[in-house]
Symmetry: C2
Subunit: 380 residues, 2 copies
């Protein structure tokens, strides 16, 4: 069922299997040198096939960000799934249903009241919910401070109730995305690890040892010097990379494994602009590179066959199904980019761009053909 | 199968049937007074049920923005579908397949070369592709200038070939979204109509009469004074409205028919912030209100039962599955917004917010219960 790129209905998502394999190998190498376990975060790929490649050679553990992903991956046979977004009681029936045959789904919380509600719910329903405490390592989103007495209070509740099981602590240094240098990322990785190790030490001192001490983001995973006291690293976007990660200095443009195949649907010589059929939905409205040194608009425009960037061409603006392509300087060659010709667009943020697409068209070489179609999980 | 809001898995999309009906009635009233036909643009709703309500009492014509929508609506029995995004030859096999039993799908182009390719393709495949010429009425996106000789050149090609049929002209004044007053919208509606009527007059003068002379955007449809020479209006977001349309002065907050039901999953008293489980995917990253007088962040936070805005609370930032909610001033009442409690979030841009969701939960009254689930079409 190999399909030439020119026979695919655009816009669609292309996944380069060689780049994917290289990116996964790079992370595996880092993880082996750090001497920790890897728990791939599959919210980026939302694909069974990609996740199996990322998990190969590891324990098979993954992290997810929605119940829909938890269900999708549990059904495919993944048995160690960390649902890494704060749990609420209303989601426990779904978690318990998935755990009926074992305890594949582990949940996360950062409030002793939530711990008590989980414990009560577990007891009332005759199940045991495995849970971790989220620690704040960068003051940006969720989690308890490592030294907050609420950490031990929540962990005690989880450990003491037959309705819950206390597994450990986790954190995510989203601030690594604001770093300007790889040295700053290295420092952030140390800060991320320090916070969660401090929490784990406090807990051990209180007689509550952590089985799991989990950190992660792609930048910190790739640049951490050492991860003493950490048991596992979570990372997701490293499988695909994107323009934002290029801007961070974490990877090169040639490492980006996903791109949107688009077709030129119009010319606007007066505005020196092409119109393509990949707009706000197919590319996403993510503008993560807007704050970086190189603003890539809504995506960097590349040759459809070689995926080489075409000097200075980016998607300048988007409507729902229209992308407006311009050059930084100079006149567009409208004959080269005739109506009906194809382009490839590299994403600012792979997680967001992939999200509107229902499948990956997998290519073995940049110019295709697409040899497989790998479905993605959507919704909640 | 009525479900209480508190029993729904969040994040999810809620559709208020009464507001929907009121919004549709308002547009129907406008259209009746203008004496033109209505072709609802269903790229906003992507729902059979919503589109049937919007098309009721009209000819049944609709506009779509993707081939996937064309297929979805054709399968549901819609027989007059304008695919309102520039056609390319590679999409003709799908169009022709849908038209095998009649000619439900009409396409749009703005280049004489595309007209010639369509004509050749139609002849070669023994079919006749019905097509319109896109006219530029605001200098912003696609279309030919009304007086460009290419309009008559393209129309002649379509009319003369047995492989194509020339139906008329269409335009979309996206610039109406930049208007600051309803007077400015009224002027833009006149400008939109003037452009396409001028093109139609030129074509008639050249012996190429237009069966369809089509304009449309929700703001121009609602504020046009008169539409002499126009046969039909296309509009879509009026069914739901959103915060951007509120900012334009086109509707009130109480008219917004879609909202995202979210659950509070965390507290951050230090940053005076709630964390909800509706993030960049569930809300979209659309920041359309950023340029308006009232910047609504990533969405306006409302009471889950009454959908009344809670003074000054908006979603300040989003990660993939996290929304960070703050108040413009004052301290959040963390007891009121306990972990596990629900909120409703009104969208900046209904088309984009709805896009990640697979269905609408339809409520008869603001506080529920949800009595029906209406699926949405996704992908391309």
């Amino acid at each position: 069922m190999a399909e030439r790129l020119q026979d695919l209905t655009t816009p669609c998502l292309i996944l380069d299997r060689q780049r994917l394999a290289r990116n996964i190998a790079r992370m595996n190498d880092r993880i082996a040198r750090l001497g920790v376990a890897l728990r791939p975060h599959v919210k980026t790929c939302k694909s069974i096939e990609v996740s199996r490649l990322a998990a190969a050679g590891h324990s098979g553990a993954i992290a997810v960000s929605t119940l829909a992903e938890a269900q999708f991956f549990a059904l495919a046979g993944f048995t160690d799934i960390l649902y890494a977004v704060g749990i609420v009681p209303s989601k426990l029936p779904d978690v318990a249903a998935l755990n009926a045959g074992g305890d594949s789904i582990k949940v996360v919380l950062d409030d002793p009241r939530t711990a008590r509600e989980l414990a009560r719910w577990g007891v009332r329903n005759g199940v045991q919910i495995p849970a971790l405490i989220e620690i704040d390592s960068d003051g940006r989103r969720a989690g308890l401070d490592p030294d907050d007495p609420a950490v031990i209070e929540a962990a005690s509740t989880l450990a003491d109730s037959p309705g819950t099981r206390f597994l450990g602590v986790m954190t995510h240094a989203g601030a690594s995305y604001d770093c300007r240098t790889t040295d700053a990322i290295r420092d952030m990785a140390a800060q991320e690890a320090r916070a969660v190790v401090a929490a784990a030490e406090n807990l051990a001192g209180a007689g509550l040892p952590c089985t799991i001490v989990s950190v992660g983001s792609t930048p910190t995973a790739l640049f951490a010097d050492a991860l003493d006291g950490i048991t596992e690293v979570r990372a997701g976007v490293y499988m695909f990379f994107d323009l934002f990660q290029v801007g961070l200095g974490v990877c090169g443009i040639d490492d980006i494994a996903v791109s949107v195949l688009a077709t030129v649907i119009g010319h606007n010589p007066r505005l020196n602009r092409l119109i393509v059929d990949a707009g706000a939905l197919a590319l996403s409205q993510d503008r993560a590179t807007a704050g970086q040194i190189t603003d890539q608009g809504y995506g960097l425009v590349c040759d459809a066959q070689t995926v080489a960037p075409i000097h200075g061409m980016t998607v300048q603006s988007v409507n729902q199904e229209h992308g407006l392509v311009t050059m930084a300087s100079g006149k567009l060659d409208f004959d080269r980019f005739s109506i009906g010709s194809q382009l490839r667009i590299l994403p600012n943020h792979a997680c967001m761009t992939a999200a509107s697409h229902q499948a990956y068209h997998v290519v073995e070489a940049p110019g295709g053909p697409a040899t497989e179609e790998w479905p993605r999980c959507g919704g909640w």
